[in-house]
């Protein structure tokens, strides 16, 4: 088996036709935002083939979780998609709660949704800055970080950490909201509404940016479904795949917000979906911030959690798409098998299909708008 794979591997990295050039993009490259390794075959500047090589930060989180208890494994999942750590944790606690058939207090549900949406904004902000940097504009990065810092400060005050919060616990959240939380979130909304128009001036309306992204990396609706593309990538191709709308969890079914769907399927559509989602997330936060119900922030749970024998699957919408948590329990205190269906993994698999025939510069635009987070892909 090993010998066979070796031969295939060599054949894949050698130029197969006259005039082809094979370039390694990554694992250390300014545009891959992490340790993604792409082997691209070029004909001049035109891309013939993109072949992702994964595994540079594969930590086998699924294997690690098999030896951690149901309280402990949640913190590890923050390290998968570290930009939407809250939402990853949310998916896990939802799955554990499904197994335990726990009823979550309404206050905890609202807090969870608020945190999810703040995380989504923070994640999209970082994406916006990093994507603009991929396309050669450096300044948006700093503007994006200004708003993101505010969210991080809010998180720091309530959850204790800035990036990998581990704030969700089975049965609710770890602590109650900080007394300043509501005021600071309102301040943030005001700051954000003042600054969001700048984003449009600086990037969205920019003619160079539009030319760089329109018609680049087109993914048709059928292909998007077939490749399992979810989140903004799927929605930009016209697939209705927002888990918050399709399979509402927590309080999402009581909220009014729009599922942003574009039909073009190109990089610009993906960009627009995320920019519009920022405003929808703000809308959700505005609805909830004054209506946080009083009550417990955590349901009563046993000290040692044991899931009944069976299989449990929960789906949540992270900033990048659909995260599935699949727990197989044998009735012990640790999961027998756990599988994370991460959105980035499926989105990345469409990269080759999307970038064939485009230029190197387009590859950066496509990767930028796919919003890849490498630990999410490698797990």
């Amino acid at each position: 088996m090993y010998r066979e794979t070796q031969i295939i591997n060599d054949a894949a990295t050698l130029p197969s036709a006259e005039g082809e050039l094979v370039i390694n993009v990554g694992p250390q490259h300014p545009a891959t935002h992490g340790v993604l390794h792409l082997v691209i075959t070029l004909q001049g500047e035109t891309i013939q083939k993109v072949e992702p090589h994964l595994g540079y930060i594969h930590r086998s989180i699924e294997k690690m979780c098999e030896s951690l208890s149901y309280r402990q494994f949640i913190y590890v999942t923050s390290r998968m998609d570290y930009l939407s750590a809250h939402i990853n944790n949310h998916g896990c606690v939802l799955c554990v709660e499904k197994g335990l058939q726990l009823e979550i207090p309404p206050r905890a549900q609202v807090i969870r949704v608020l945190m999810d949406e703040l995380t989504r904004i923070a994640s999209h902000e970082l994406w916006w800055g990093a994507m603009a940097m991929d396309l050669g504009a450096f300044t948006p990065f700093f503007y994006a970080f200004r708003e993101r810092e505010t969210i991080n400060d809010i998180m720091e005050e309530t959850c204790g950490t800035r990036l990998t919060m581990n704030y969700m616990v089975p049965g609710g959240v770890m602590y109650d909201l900080h007394p300043n939380f509501q005021k600071r979130v309102k301040d943030f909304i005001q700051l954000f509404n003042n600054k969001i128009d700048e984003y449009d001036d600086l990037v969205t309306g920019n003619i160079i940016f539009q030319n760089r992204t329109k018609g680049v990396g087109v993914l048709s609706k059928e292909d998007a479904i077939s490749f399992g593309c979810t989140g903004p990538v799927g929605r930009a191709s016209g697939v209705h795949c927002d888990i918050r709308k399709l399979y509402p969890y927590e309080v999402y079914d009581n909220l009014s917000f729009d599922e942003i769907v574009e039909t073009a399927g190109d990089s610009y559509a993906r960009y627009l979906v995320r920019i519009k989602e920022l405003r929808q997330s703000i809308r959700i936060i505005e609805q909830l911030i004054d209506n946080i119900p009083e009550g417990d922030f955590q349901a009563k749970t046993k000290a040692v959690l044991k899931l009944p024998r069976g299989e449990f699957y929960s789906r949540v919408e992270t900033a990048r798409g659909e995260l599935g948590v699949f727990i197989v329990s044998e009735g012990a205190t640790t999961p027998y098998r756990i599988k994370f269906r991460s959105p980035g993994f499926s989105n990345l698999s469409a990269l080759d299909h999307m970038s064939r025939g485009s230029k190197i510069g387009d590859l950066m635009a496509i990767m930028g708008t796919l919003d890849l987070v490498i630990p999410d892909i490698d797990r």
């Binding site: 500047e45 504009a137 990065f141």
Partner: protein, 358 residues
């Protein structure tokens, strides 16, 4: 009116009266070489610092502020660091060309400095084909870039160099055409005469809209020619890591870096000379008093002020715009800039022939 002319004249007078003519000429050359080299060093440091400060202000940061007062010595420290670094040469590289390339780029940048008038009567070589010389010599640097890209034996470098070649060759055209429109108006290729022709007003203001269009095209074209963002495809950090100078380190990298900034200075100086009147003070029609006050500002300040304004403009572009794609870069030149500047040249010629300018 304060002028450097007296100083340069008196130095020349003293040299020729003390030594024999050959010796005096040699000494003059030596002084100029020293001056130019020192000027290069200082200019590089100042421009890099300026870029970092401008970028920082636009990006709501502070920028360098630790080394020296307000971070003034940051670039000096960086230069010392670069000088002390080991200059690596990759194993598969063509050693001779690899080491030669940064010097070619640097020498090309230095040569263009010759006909630029820094102040009234302060010019190294007032050659009678000054503008032609500038556009001819400035395109030599592309050879250095191609050489660097090829000799590095690195695919990123090669791609960057190829892009750079295509880019400089195409943008030379529209830069040249907009230079020609000023030549048509002033009727001379000599830098000093072009400046003298702007005695009554800068061409930018005298030449109606066509000259403004030519100015805009000139700025775009020279931004592309100096490989600056949004046309920095040859370096294209997020695509080609560092483009043609991926493999360079230490002082050889510093030479590329320095040459980039010197080139910016030169093209902006040319722009200031052609469109904004070089060292000529701002004169407005018949406002005698105003004109008189303007005359009191030294000519070197006028020249440097205009040049640095243009440099700021180019930096402003860099820190605002995303990068173009390589095919868009070429279609911008061939589909938009070149037709517009050709048509524009016709208009300018018409204005010049009919004498419609102010």
């Amino acid at each position: 009116m304060f002028s450097l002319e007296y100083i340069t004249d008196s130095i020349q007078h003293w040299l020729y009266s003390t030594f024999n003519p050959t010796m005096a000429l040699l000494l003059e050359c030596l002084i100029i070489i020293l001056l130019v080299t020192a000027f290069f060093g200082v200019l590089g440091l100042v421009l890099v610092l300026m870029e970092r400060k401008v970028a920082a202000r636009m990006q709501i940061r502070l920028g360098p502020n630790r080394v020296g007062p307000k971070g003034m010595l940051q670039t000096t420290a960086d230069t010392i660091k670069l000088m002390m670094k080991e200059g690596l040469t990759p194993d598969g590289a063509d050693k001779f060309l690899f080491n030669l390339a940064p010097f070619i780029v640097m020498i090309a940048a230095m040569l263009v400095l010759a006909p630029i008038a820094f102040a009234k009567g302060f010019q190294i070589w007032d050659i009678n084909i000054g503008v032609l010389y500038v556009s001819a010599v400035s395109s030599v640097s592309v050879i250095g870039i191609l050489m660097a890209g090829w000799a590095s034996n690195n695919k990123y470098s090669l791609l960057g160099a190829m892009r750079s070649g295509a880019q400089i060759v195409s943008y030379e055209l529209s830069a040249g055409l907009s230079i020609i429109s000023i030549v048509v108006l002033s009727g001379s290729l000599q830098i000093s005469e072009i400046i003298a022709s702007q005695q009554t007003g800068w061409w930018l203001f005298r030449g109606h809209i066509p000259v403004i269009i030519a100015f805009v095209i000139f700025i775009i074209a020279v931004t592309a020619e100096t490989n600056r963002a949004p046309f920095d495809l040859a370096e294209a950090e997020s695509e080609l890591t560092a483009g043609f100078h991926t493999e360079y380190s230490g002082m050889k990298f510093a030479l590329f870096f320095l040459a980039e900034y010197i080139n910016i200075f030169i093209v902006c100086a040319i722009g200031a000379t052609l469109f904004l009147g070089g060292w000529m003070p701002l004169h407005i029609g018949h406002w005698k008093g105003f004109n008189h006050i303007m005359d009191y500002i030294p000519s070197s300040v006028w020249f440097l002020g205009k040049t640095f304004f243009l440099i700021f403009l180019i930096m402003w572009f860099r820190w605002t715009f995303p990068r173009l794609r390589v095919d868009q870069l070429l279609s911008l030149e061939w589909k938009y800039l070149l037709p517009i500047s050709m048509f524009n040249l016709l208009l300018v010629t018409l204005i010049a022939i009919m004498g419609w300018h102010f």
